[in-house]
């Protein structure tokens, strides 16, 4: 049975080399960037300016530090990325108004750099750069560069400050009950929002910079000692592998790290809500924050979670989950079922209903499948049109749609009234799915089901369902089977899939995440109200009054 290990083929070798070549992207002006600073401030400044070219937002400020000969200092910062008040507060003021004593004045000419670093700058965060590349990177994220005459190092002082949207309620995930904070475009704000919810030193934000040009900070968030380190490692390695021009939104990242790009389903969850991220972290998942977007990613995700909303855990409506599952089935199968019944299996429809349906369909010129397809696609047009429009226009489209779909089409005899019911019910049900991209996937699959139902009847629909199940079962999200915990079945965890049982029943974290600490809480915390008629022990009586 054993075979000789085969030698690597030339074919694949060649391909690999080609691939590697393509991956090595040329960094602009690499030569200058890798140079160290010289002792001559003029050269440093000239080179630094040449790296940036003649961009308009690079500001420069020169001044002399008092002393016997005076030491030349040059500041560089990017206008708009820095807080100018902070510059004057932490850099300029101490430089200009600080009265050096005799001792310092004597030392100044040779030790200006040291002096500035240790006693002049009043900022909490000062970094030293030894190469142009380091300095450039710092200046680009809102540091001010301090070139000092006679020094081979350059100081970079953190004075970040730019226009920022405040923490607002996330629009894409509006809740009735629950925190109203949403992520913003600033990474630091977002990390702080998470940190404020999970106050443990074990919470780690591991930053990786991605993008040759954008240099986007990508933050891998997890709880040390709880999250399975294998998943963290996998996430990080997938992110590190990315070599691209830029990451502008977490959606870019999602495409790069997904397990299977061919599926319409979401293998990476996204959210605008810090509370949802925190809940995911506590379950043992890994979150990914991307600078510049309020959408955080959560991995791994399973199918059941596309029907979960964080609000399920705040507002104790246990029956909302089954309703969503039914809605999912309706959204996916109702049109195809209806078409299959009317086309192939009329005998299944109760006679009374069949009569009225036949009456409704009288005069409809096309087969039911085509009719359904037309209606579905009209509705999808309307929905897409409504989403991108400003709100007043969107409402107008809604009214227009209601008239077009609901009344005019029926009156004109193009569609049957029952089809209108079917289509609108389907549409409403697809709105019940909390995860937007999942509902888009369902919308897309509905057409396939419709086709199958129209051509092969119920048998076709079930065939499609089976293919869909096979596909879903074959998916994995960072190693976790997508249909877990339904298949492979872990019956204990079903209590958070089809229903949401009270918190005190969910003592353990999802098992397949293989967290280092399986227990979530002490078991047996079911509330026990004092029973009437039974006397309490005498020792507890004191509290009662």
């Amino acid at each position: 049975m054993f075979r000789k290990p085969c030698k690597p083929s030339k074919l694949s070798d060649l391909k690999e080399r080609k691939l590697r070549k393509r991956m090595e992207k040329v960094q602009p002006q690499t030569a200058v960037l890798e140079e160290p600073f010289s002792a001559d401030i003029e050269t440093n400044v000239r080179k630094f300016q040449r790296i940036f070219g003649n961009t308009g937002d690079l500001s420069r400020r020169d001044f002399l530090l008092e002393g016997e000969q005076g030491v030349e200092v040059v500041l560089f910062y990017i206008d708009g990325l820095v807080d100018k008040g902070a510059i004057s507060e932490v850099v300029l003021k101490p430089f200009l108004f600080h009265n050096l004593d005799e001792e310092e004045k004597r030392l100044l000419p040779g030790n200006a750099y040291q002096l500035i670093k240790t006693s002049l700058i009043t900022s909490a965060e000062v970094k030293e750069a030894e190469k142009f590349s380091e300095l450039v990177d710092l200046v680009l994220v809102g540091h001010v560069a301090v070139f000092v005459e006679g020094s081979e190092k350059v100081l970079a002082v953190d004075v970040k400050g730019w226009k920022d949207r405040g923490v607002e309620e996330p629009e894409s995930e509006a809740f009735i009950r629950g925190p109203r904070e949403g992520f913003t475009e600033t990474l630091r704000t977002n990390t702080a929002l998470i940190r404020r919810r999970i106050k443990t030193p074990n919470l780690e934000f591991n930053t990786i910079t991605v993008g040759e040009y954008t240099k986007t900070d990508v933050c891998v968030v997890y709880i040390r000692g709880l999250t399975n380190p294998d998943i963290v490692r996998e996430v990080e390695s997938r992110i590190r592998r990315i070599k691209t021009d830029g990451i502008l939104e977490s959606g870019y990242l999602e495409d790069f790290i997904e397990d299977d790009y061919k599926t319409p389903f979401v293998l990476v969850d996204r959210t605008e809500r810090p509370d949802k991220v925190a809940a995911g972290l506590l379950e043992g998942k890994v979150a990914i924050l991307v600078d510049g977007t309020p959408f955080a990613l959560i991995v791994p995700v399973v199918f059941g979670e596309i029907l979960q909303s964080a609000e399920d855990y705040y507002e104790g409506n246990d029956y909302i989950r089954p309703i969503r599952w039914i809605a999912l089935l309706v959204a996916l199968f109702l049109p195809s079922f209806y078409v299959a019944l009317t086309t192939f299996h009329q005998e299944m429809i109760p006679p009374g209903l069949a009569l009225s349906m036949a009456a409704g369909r009288e005069g409809v010129p096309v087969p039911a499948a085509v009719e359904a397809f037309m209606m579905e696609i009209t509705f999808d047009f309307l929905r897409e049109a409504g989403i991108r429009m400003p709100r007043p226009v969107g409402q107008a489209i809604g009214i227009l749609g209601a008239v077009v779909i609901g009344q005019a089409a029926v009156a004109a005899g193009v569609v049957s009234p029952i089809m209108v019911i079917v289509v609108s019910l389907t549409a409403i049900c697809s709105f019940l799915i909390p995860n937007y991209s999942a509902s888009v996937a369902i919308r897309f699959l509905r057409y396939i089901m419709l086709l199958l139902g129209g051509v092969l009847g119920l048998v076709g629909v079930f065939w499609g369902m089976m293919m869909l199940l096979l596909h879903l079962a074959s998916l994995r999200s960072f190693g976790i089977p997508y249909l877990y915990p339904v298949a492979p079945m872990v019956s204990r965890e079903l209590r958070d899939i089809f229903v949401r049982t009270p918190w005190w029943t969910m003592d353990e974290r999802p098992r397949l995440l293989r967290t280092s600490d399986q227990r979530r809480q002490a078991p047996g915390q079911r509330p026990r109200p004092p029973q009437s008629g039974r006397r309490r022990k005498s020792g507890e009586d004191q509290d009662e009054y």
Binding site: M1, F2, R3, F344, H345, E347, M348, P350, L456, G457, L458, V459, G460, V461, F462, W463, M465, M466, M467, L469, L470, A473, S474, P481, L483, V486, A487, P488, M489
Partner: protein
């Protein structure tokens, strides 16, 4: 060095095997058995249950446990030498190819004659096979998981069907007991046993169970679920229609679905058939999987996937070619299935077991 990397749970293994046996036999057997032994069918089931359990647990479970991590063909090679083992594996693969052709044809016929008469047979054949090929290509783990969802659904619908038929069942139909000669009952039991023989597919994925020690549990669970369902269905069908009428039908279980009413909804057989499609789909997947895995092992390939597509094509040809019509299938199953099935499903493992006993091969490490 196994070809299959996936691992399944003991529950998945149980469901797979039960579904494999029930999937189509529940379609044909009631008529077959009603024809052979009429109202004494339940006796035959009980006999087959006991025998099946004994033979199955010895041949499949204990033989399999002697060679941990090895499937049927692998230990066949171990036991009777590379050449003999490979020939055996090839025969096994060929056998299941033929059987699969029969299954696909059976079900295709049902769909064609009962549900959509205008559609040509080949459409259904292609449909079932495309599903099977897709599933097998994705691997054991995947279709085991799907079955974990589909099988309880199928079982539930079956029980619901019997339950709704209950008011109209006449249990006097089961009366006079022991009208038939004992040899007849034995032959009928043997027939059933030949169908149960499909459970030998377990020998192919026993080593892929996550906890092999749970094989002991599987060996009880399978017969219990299987025989319980079988008994309910056959008794239900005979009670509903009477033995004579059931014997004249081609697909009595299906007729039952046609006859019962579920509240205001009648004629739910299409729905029933739809759910059945999923169950039979998994069955065909399991058997195709066993086929290609056996073939891949006997050809010492490193992966079974290259064989999946071509075997699907061959299956399509076989299923259309093998039989002229439904009567031919019925006749074949009634006359030749016992010797044919017994030889491959019980006799070959039995021989292997003997060899293992004689040569004292046991790699389980005395567990």
């Amino acid at each position: 060095m196994g070809i299959e990397k996936g691992r399944i749970s003991s529950r998945q293994a149980t469901y797979l095997v039960v579904n494999t046996i029930l999937g189509t036999s529940i379609l044909f057997l009631p008529a077959l058995m009603a024809g052979e032994v009429g109202q004494d069918a339940w006796v035959a089931i009980l006999i087959a249950a006991v025998l099946g359990f004994l033979i199955g647990s010895v041949l499949v479970i204990s033989l399999g446990l002697r060679f941990p991590g090895k499937n049927f063909v692998e230990y066949a090679i171990e036991l009777v030498g590379p050449l003999g083992g490979r020939i055996l594996g090839f025969l096994w693969g060929g056998f299941y190819l033929v059987v699969n052709g029969i299954i696909v044809r059976e079900f295709g016929e049902l769909l064609k004659t009962e549900v959509m008469p205008e559609t040509p047979l080949i459409v259904f054949v292609v449909m079932i096979l495309s599903m099977a090929v897709f599933g097998v290509y994705l691997g054991l783990e995947v279709f085991a998981r799907v079955n974990e969802i589909v099988f309880p659904l199928f079982l539930g619908v079956l029980l619901l069907l019997l339950l709704t038929g209950l008011p109209e069942m006449d249990f006097r139909n089961l009366q006079p007991v022991f009208q038939h000669r004992f040899p007849d009952i034995m032959v009928s039991a043997a027939n059933l046993l030949a169908f149960y023989g499909e459970g030998v597919v377990l020998a192919m994925f026993l080593p892929y169970m996550r906890q092999p020690e749970e094989a002991k549990r599987v060996q009880y669970e399978i017969p219990i679920i299987l025989n319980f369902t079988m008994l309910l269905v056959i008794v239900g069908v005979i009670a509903y229609f009477g033995a004579g009428e059931a014997a004249r039908m081609v697909f009595p279980t299906f007729e039952l679905a046609k006859a019962v009413r579920l509240g205001f909804v009648e004629r739910i057989e299409s729905l029933f058939v739809g759910i059945w499609v999923t169950s039979v789909g998994v069955k065909v997947m399991v058997i195709s999987y066993v086929t290609v895995l056996a073939l891949a092992h006997s050809l010492s390939l490193r992966d079974y996937r290259p064989l999946v597509f071509p075997c699907g094509l061959i299956l399509a040809v076989l299923s259309v070619l093998q039989f002229a019509d439904t009567n031919h299938i019925r006749e074949f199953l009634a006359r030749y299935w016992i010797p044919f099935g017994f030889t491959f499903q019980w006799f070959i493992p039995f021989l292997l077991y003997l060899v293992a006993l004689v040569r004292k091969k046991d790699q389980s490490g005395g567990r």
